[in-house]
């Protein structure tokens, strides 16, 4: 579904991604871990099409299309979804209207009729139950004054509404209380299926207890320095990053 080959990316002239390779197949769940500042969100932004990042080398194929050639909105309408690490507050734009516009833009792109009000509300109700999000939040402006946890829940709600083929969840677990983490993780698990791939960016094993990944990767200094199965995450939890990063630093210095 997604194939990343040797991606290098700069921001403001500074190289952040230094040759990333990653293949994700339909139905798989991949987790990316790694120290702060290693480039995890940068990778997510490059995939979603944030224009400030300049891709200097490499290629990305998404569902047989050259992803880097597509605009941000077309990537979304092709089925790529990014749950933001820091969801943006947009005063004056109602969450419900925004989600309705997003759902219908996607349908239009795929040659489907827009949902009428009744069908849309029905879908909303169903997906709201999935992540146990309150109606009152959705009638407010997008993320305006939402608590950290409410913002994350709203991201997963949008994922549920947009039914993406590939969902990139950037630290969706951080800021959630214990109950919310369980609820949101359960919601994500329910969205897991053989046609959908998920890329989880996280710092914590806790999330991976709920959502068991097929693969775990460690991103360090703009590169994937180690890949493994879910046992790798357990090992990291126990030993920290040092045993991997020291090795990577040593390799880089040679």
């Amino acid at each position: 579904m997604l194939s990343i080959k040797n991606i290098h990316a700069n921001i403001e002239g500074k190289e952040i991604l230094k040759g990333i390779n990653l293949d994700i197949k339909a139905g798989e769940v991949h987790a990316i871990m790694g120290p702060n500042g290693s480039g995890k969100s940068t990778l997510a932004s490059v995939l979603a099409g944030r224009e400030e990042y300049e891709v200097t080398e490499g290629e990305v194929t998404f569902l047989e299309k050259d992803l880097l050639e597509l605009s941000t909105e077309d990537r979304a309408r092709e089925g790529l979804f990014l749950a933001f690490q820091y969801p943006v507050e947009i005063p004056g734009v109602s969450t419900t209207n925004f989600i309705k516009a997003a759902v219908n833009e996607k349908r239009k792109y795929q040659g489907e009729e827009p949902l009428d009000a009744v069908a849309f509300l029905k879908m909303m109700k169903q997906k709201m139950a999935l992540v146990e999000i309150d109606q009152s939040l959705l009638s407010r402006s997008i993320n305006e004054g939402f608590s950290g946890g409410e913002k994350k829940r709203n991201e997963v709600f949008q994922m549920a509404m947009l039914e993406p083929k590939l969902a990139i969840l950037d630290e969706t677990d951080s800021g959630l209380d214990i109950d919310a983490l369980r609820i949101v993780a359960n919601g994500i698990n329910k969205l897991r299926n053989e046609n959908r791939a998920i890329l989880l960016i996280t710092h914590y094993q806790r999330l991976l207890d709920y959502i068991q990944p097929d693969f775990v990767h460690v991103l360090y200094n703009g590169k994937i320095v180690k890949s493994g199965t879910k046992e790798l995450a357990l090992e990291l939890e126990e030993r920290g990053y040092d045993f991997i990063t020291d090795e990577a630093d040593l390799a880089a210095s040679l």
Partner: protein, 434 residues
Amino acid sequence: MTNVNYFKDQFEQLQDSAPESTITELRTDGFNTFNKSGLPTLKLEEWKYTNISSLFDKDYQFANAPQQLNADDLDEIRLAGHEAANELVFVNGRFIPALSTIRSAASQLVILPLEEAAKGSHQALVKKHLGQSSVYLKDGIHALNTSFIQDGMFILVPKGQQLEQPVYIYHISDARQQNTLSQPRSLIIVEENAKLQLTETYTTLGTAESFTNEVLEMVVKENAFVEYYKIQHDGLNASQVGSTHIHQVGKSYVHTVVVSLNGGVIRNNLNLVLDAEGNETHLYGLYLLKGNSHVDNHTLVDNKRPNCFSNQLYKGIADDSSTGVFSGRIIVQPDAQKTNAYQSNKNIILSDKATINTKPQLEIFADDVKCSHGCTVGQLDEEALFYLRARGIPKAAAEVLLLEAYAADILAQIKPEALRNHVAELIYEHLSIS
């Protein structure tokens, strides 16, 4: 070039033909001022950013006879909620009673041609209040309106009349044959304990140029309540100087919203004279500029008595090669202790070629006052734009969503729902066409 000789001829003809009244003298004063000052140029501080005199290169003419329009021509122009409104029509600057519909009872609302009011039982009111704006607006373009007061309009909301039906004024310029100069003039008196909701809008027919030079004077008495809306969404061939002068002579409440969407060169003067203790005034403005549009909002709040409150919020967006100007002047006279006067002007620039000039002016001569002002010029929030696009909303639509959100708090100040929804639609369409 429409030159001084043209206006001189026209003025003399008018003075010869129009019946003698209190207005005759006013016109003479106006013409003397116009003769002396000419049209304002960029050299005048108050006209530094807006060039009106060059517009007159376009050879504007007064329309000779009132153009033939019928009620059907109006259908395209009517504002939402018109079914319940008093609809007053000006064509080429002249009030046309035959095209107007007055739905309120005569005891609730008096509407007369200005000349008639100046002769009849309202003579004293006209004499006292017509022309008071000249104390504040001393330039030649204002004087030009005064020089040619004819077929103006007089509105009186008598004591205690809480008018339920709003008043809509449609200004139509017929530029189908020639470049047209329209100079509407109105005097409005809202008496004690009365309530008036007034909306003005402007439409140019045809493709030649129109210039509307309007003066509206309003007197608001004790315990009266006024909502005033001005909706400017005319063609790019339509320019205007619109002066609204509101004199709060008794403790009263005035709420104004000026929305400028499409147009050529627009200059709005909005004067509020707070001439009684405890007056309350709210001034809101929204300008959404594209193409070569130029919109200049000059506000003046003159606090003459103690304990008055005023709040101003003007917001603008400038795209393409457009220019927005905001100049907000607040005067606090020595007698106006305990004045509360606030002003804020916020702008978003969407293009390198767009310009915003913003200038607050506070002149405070009393010591126990609370005044504040602030202005900002910023850009569209890139983070928000990316967020919307990352959900599949195309860039252009995402920008419209954000701009609508930006305009929402001013839009919300249009209190009648039908009118507000109508303006919301105009805004949406205006922003959606690139």
